[in-house]
């Protein structure tokens, strides 16, 4: 823990108190809060926010006190004498033009430093850096690891769950396959728009995982992107470098169950989904890659926990789980027979090569 100045600590205590009140008030965990920064960038932002918060409190107190004192002190008091007709005082007015300007310049200087800190990516050895392409789709997230090659010579692709090594620089290139989305993991990184024409860049470095267990962070699309903007969520798993390596090795392999049911083709799933190492290896790329589906924490972009019951529910009626999502164009309520449902559910659940973060997610 680096040394912090006492004023800063005081500021933090203040905000933590507010945070604690908020937690007590609702008695619920808030997995997407920005009050619990877990990377250098978000900590820089948080420290700036603490400063802005207290300056704001200062201005608030001055103005509201002045206002309230005026209201009580100069309230009409049954004498009809006109108050002194003061038209102004140039010196005083110049003063209260200059003082806010000085405060604004002060805030700006600190803001400028913070911009430099979070926007300029530090140059580190390539071994300490991981490149990931983030692609927003209506309404799910695709993550591509351009430097990691799979068993069949392709780029490693996963969906809605991004694994990263803790303590290393994560260099993200963000784009979109359709409309504008926005990548946001409040604990790790501020927002970056996913635009369909330009690539945008953002980087962060997640804190080390102290107990070696993978740590799960929540995120969500923040730019309105159509019908199911609300259910375009994602998880980021920060794992120890060793766990991350295990994950990479497992995920690069083909599907652990190559016995693709015929229903996957018959029901049309293959039109949108890839399962490497099976007959669906060259399936469509409209929907998420399902190669290691069973290892993921969630279904339908963070909408449901990934377990057999939920998967059954999802395949039975995608529109009931996530109304208006694109899979409903193919899979209606009565598209799949009960047998097909069971076969596909069993098969997809079986696609779990080993390491996953479901236990951490449950905590």
């Amino acid at each position: 823990m680096p040394y912090r100045r006492p004023t800063k600590a005081l500021g933090r205590i203040g905000l933590l108190l507010i945070a604690a009140t908020m937690l007590v008030a609702c008695g619920q965990a808030t997995p997407q809060t920005m009050l619990d920064p877990q990377s250098d960038s978000t900590r820089t932002i948080f420290n700036l926010a603490v400063l802005l918060f207290w300056l704001g409190v200062g201005v608030f107190v001055i103005v509201q006190t002045w206002l309230i004192v005026s209201v009580f002190k100069y309230r009409h008091k049954y004498n009809d004498q006109l108050p002194a007709q003061i038209h102004g005082n140039t010196k005083v007015e110049i003063a209260w033009t200059i003082v806010p300007a000085i405060i604004a310049i002060f805030i700006f200087v600190l803001t400028f430093q913070a911009i430099q800190k979070i926007e300029v990516k530090p140059s580190v050895a390539s071994a300490d850096e991981v490149h990931i392409q983030v692609i927003g789709h209506q309404w799910w997230w695709e993550f591509r690891y351009p430097d990691i090659t799979t068993a069949d010579g392709k780029v490693l692709v996963t969906a809605n769950e991004m694994w990263i090594p803790a303590g290393k620089v994560i260099d993200l290139t963000v784009t979109s396959a359709d409309v504008i989305h926005d990548f946001w993991i409040p604990a790790l990184s501020g927002k970056r728009d996913a635009l369909p024409v330009h690539e945008t860049k953002i980087w962060f470095k997640a804190d080390d995982v102290p107990d070696g267990e993978p740590k799960v962070y929540w995120g969500q699309c923040a730019e309105y992107c159509g019908t199911e903007h609300a259910y375009m969520k994602m998880r980021v798993v920060a794992a120890s470098p060793n766990d991350f390596q295990t994950w990479v090795t497992e995920q690069s392999g083909p599907a652990v169950n190559a016995d693709l049911p015929a229903d996957f083709t018959a029901a049309g799933c293959i039109g949108c989904h890839v399962i490497r190492g099976t007959d669906a290896a060259n399936g469509g790329q409209i929907g998420p890659d399902l190669t290691h589906f069973g290892s993921r924490m969630t279904i339908a972009a963070g909408t449901l926990d990934n377990n057999r019951d939920n998967l059954h529910r999802w395949l039975d009626s995608p529109d009931a789980v996530k109304p208006g999502n694109i899979m409903t164009q193919v899979i209606k309520d009565d598209t799949l027979s009960p047998e097909q449902l069971n076969t596909l559910t069993d098969y997809l659940i079986s696609l779990d090569p080993g390491i996953d973060a479901k236990e951490q997610a449950a905590k």
Binding site: P100, I107, G190
Partner: protein, 615 residues
């Protein structure tokens, strides 16, 4: 008290013509009333949409609205409140009071003024027709980010209605702004120098200039969008080389000045109300006026602060951040000057004063959160979250809407000739004040806890339940407050106390005539001698504030149906354009008919000008 104030009042003339006279009126006061009524109806509709939003978000995974319906409702809530409620409410007060406050008989272009009103009504109708045409209202947000607005992603015709409605509203606002500016420049009473103009007139003029410079940008944007959607162009479609970021620049180059377009008239109203109820002049008239000018200029240099998350790069981030923070300086000056106006005053707490004080208290909160949003690093966390929703509602509801309520309680007695009830008024204020804070303060916290904007629902596991519930309860308190206002208004019209000419013991010229004023506003020409003509005549001695010239023969143009006919032509034209791309056999005849109607209206208009040289 000076006696010459009394001499201004003519015996009341019985209005003739019944309700039909409203269709052909060119009287700025009647047009102002039509603006206010229309905009208030849209305000209530936008409020109902807000209630539906809050019902849906009151509990997690609520199914009160489908996502499709929710997206239409929030799009129309934003569009309605911005373009059909706050802007025309401001325009209504400007229409009614700018000529009165500068001692003029009417607006510079009375017929064009009527056209501005009709185009507002028709623009609103075009947007709302979308609801009944198969339930396909616009669904891409009031900011309408491309390419979500393109035909492949927004498949209903809603966005076409949105574009066409907005085009009509744009013409309405442009014409209205030119009218206000020319009226202020040309029709001020003798002696009403710029540095004697009431601050509401100052802010009206700045607002009108902002509109003239900002509107072309969105007009270009929506025209390109309409071509994309209807004539297979690709201005914003990335697949064909178009650029969605172009839309964002065009939109926000309009959109940020638009914020000041909505708030500057509110600053003007507060600058009128505070001195009257503090019984003092405004503190630092020049600083308040010129800080408004400064805000107007700076307002054009900050648009990209809405786009920090698009990755503008450090240079642009730094520039737009600095410019945005700079705006806090003139805004702060205004707040300090208002506080100084109250200081050592003799404060009379009538309802308008409640809203004015409430405005300062709430607007400061919106200002503080605004400065935090101007810091790009923090903005990257809270932009597009409920923190922003809270911020701009503190500015536009706690700011603009509070001022408008204050303005209504202050000026309605002049318009209707009857007072509003004070007890109901104060009840109205407290309901809105409590409801507003209960609705929007928790939204700061929701944003900080990671709740994005524009989501139709959220799950139980996010920890957002309590604050959303509080917010939804608050929304109903606001609705109740608005209902009290409606009741107060109806009671006032039925049996309100007669207002008299000058119920608040005010300072400016609109109180130097009857309530409501006669068609020609004043029976004598006013020669202005001070910044507070009425006040100085009352308290400094006869003729110190103003003198009267009774040898005055104001000329008013006769009623005209030309503006209504011409505007109807444009209204029909919107439907012709709607069908032109999809069903030309329908579109082309409608366009021809529309042009015929508009041409007929225009020719009548020109004929009338020949007889009576006023536009």
């Amino acid at each position: 008290m000076a006696t010459d104030v009394q001499a201004l009042h003519a015996p009341e003339v019985k209005p003739k013509g019944g309700w039909l006279s409203w269709l052909v009126t060119v009287d700025h006061k009647k047009i102002g009333i039509m603006y206010l009524v229309t905009a208030f109806v849209f305000f209530l509709i936008g409020g109902l949409e807000a209630l539906m939003i809050r019902v849906q978000l009151g509990t997690p995974e609520n199914s009160f609205l489908t996502p499709q319906a929710y997206n239409q409702i929030f799009t129309m809530h934003g569009t309605t409140m911005v373009f059909l409620a706050i802007m025309p409410l401001n325009a209504g007060f400007m229409n009614y009071f700018v000529p009165l406050m500068i001692g003029a008989g009417d607006m510079a272009y009375p017929r064009m003024n009527a056209m501005s009103y009709w185009l507002l009504l028709f623009g609103g109708l075009v947007m709302y027709v979308s609801f009944i045409s198969g339930g396909n209202a616009p669904d891409a947000g009031w900011f309408a980010y491309a390419p979500l607005t393109e035909k492949i992603y927004s498949t209903t015709r809603g966005m076409d209605f949105w574009v066409l409605g907005l085009q009509l509203l744009g013409v309405s606002s442009l014409a209205g702004s030119v009218n206000i500016i020319v009226t202020i420049i040309r029709l001020r009473a003798p002696g009403m120098r710029f540095n004697r103009m009431p601050l509401f007139v100052w802010m009206s003029m700045i607002t009108s200039f902002l509109l003239i410079f900002a509107l072309p940008s969105i007009t270009v944007g929506i025209t390109l969008l309409f071509f994309d959607r209807n004539f297979q162009t690709n201005f914003f479609l990335p697949a064909a080389g178009g650029d969605p970021l172009l839309w964002q620049h065009l939109f926000w180059f309009f959109g940020h000045p638009e914020v000041y377009i909505m708030i500057l008239p509110a600053f003007g109203m507060i600058s009128e109300i505070l001195p009257v109820f503090s019984r003092k002049p405004i503190f630092g008239y020049e600083f308040v006026a010129y800080s408004g000018v400064a805000i107007g200029f700076l307002g054009f240099a900050v648009w990209a602060h809405h786009m920090f998350a698009t990755g503008l790069g450090t240079v642009a981030d730094t520039f737009f951040s600095a410019a945005s923070m700079l705006i806090s300086v003139p805004t702060g000056v205004k707040i300090f000057n208002w506080l100084a106006t109250m200081w050592r005053g003799d404060l009379r707490f009538k309802t308008p004063m409640y809203f004015a004080v409430g405005f300062i208290a709430m607007f400061v909160i919106g200002g503080i959160s605004g400065v935090s949003l101007a810091a790009p690093p923090f903005d990257l966390q809270v932009t597009d979250s409920y923190y922003v929703v809270a911020h701009f509602h503190y500015v536009l509801f706690g700011g603009a809407a509070f001022a408008l309520f204050g303005g209504a309680y202050y000026w309605l007695p002049k318009i209707t000739g009857r007072m509003l009830d004070e007890r109901l008024g104060k009840f109205n204020f407290w309901m809105i004040f409590l409801g507003f804070n209960l609705t929007f303060f928790p939204q700061h916290i929701l944003g900080i806890e990671g709740m994005p904007r524009r989501i139709w629902t959220y799950q139980d596991n996010q920890g957002w339940n309590l604050y959303n519930l509080l917010s939804s309860i608050g929304a109903f308190l606001i609705a109740f407050g608005a209902l009290i206002f409606v009741v107060n208004l109806i009671l006032s019209l039925r049996r309100g106390e007669p207002a008299g000419n000058d119920p608040w013991d005010a300072a400016t010229l609109e109180w130097a005539t009857t309530s409501p004023p006669p068609a020609h506003n004043f029976d004598a020409e006013i020669i202005v001698n001070s910044r507070r003509p009425l006040w100085d005549n009352k308290y400094s001695g006869e003729d110190r504030g103003m003198t009267l010239n009774h040898d005055w023969h104001p000329h008013l143009p006769p009623p005209s149906s030309a503006p209504l006919i011409f505007s109807s032509g444009l209204f029909v034209l919107a439907f012709g354009m709607f069908f032109l791309g999809s069903t030309p056999v329908l579109g082309i005849p409608i366009i021809l008919v529309a042009l015929a109607i508009a041409g007929f209206g225009m020719s009548r208009w020109v004929g009338e000008i020949a007889e009576d040289p006023v536009l």
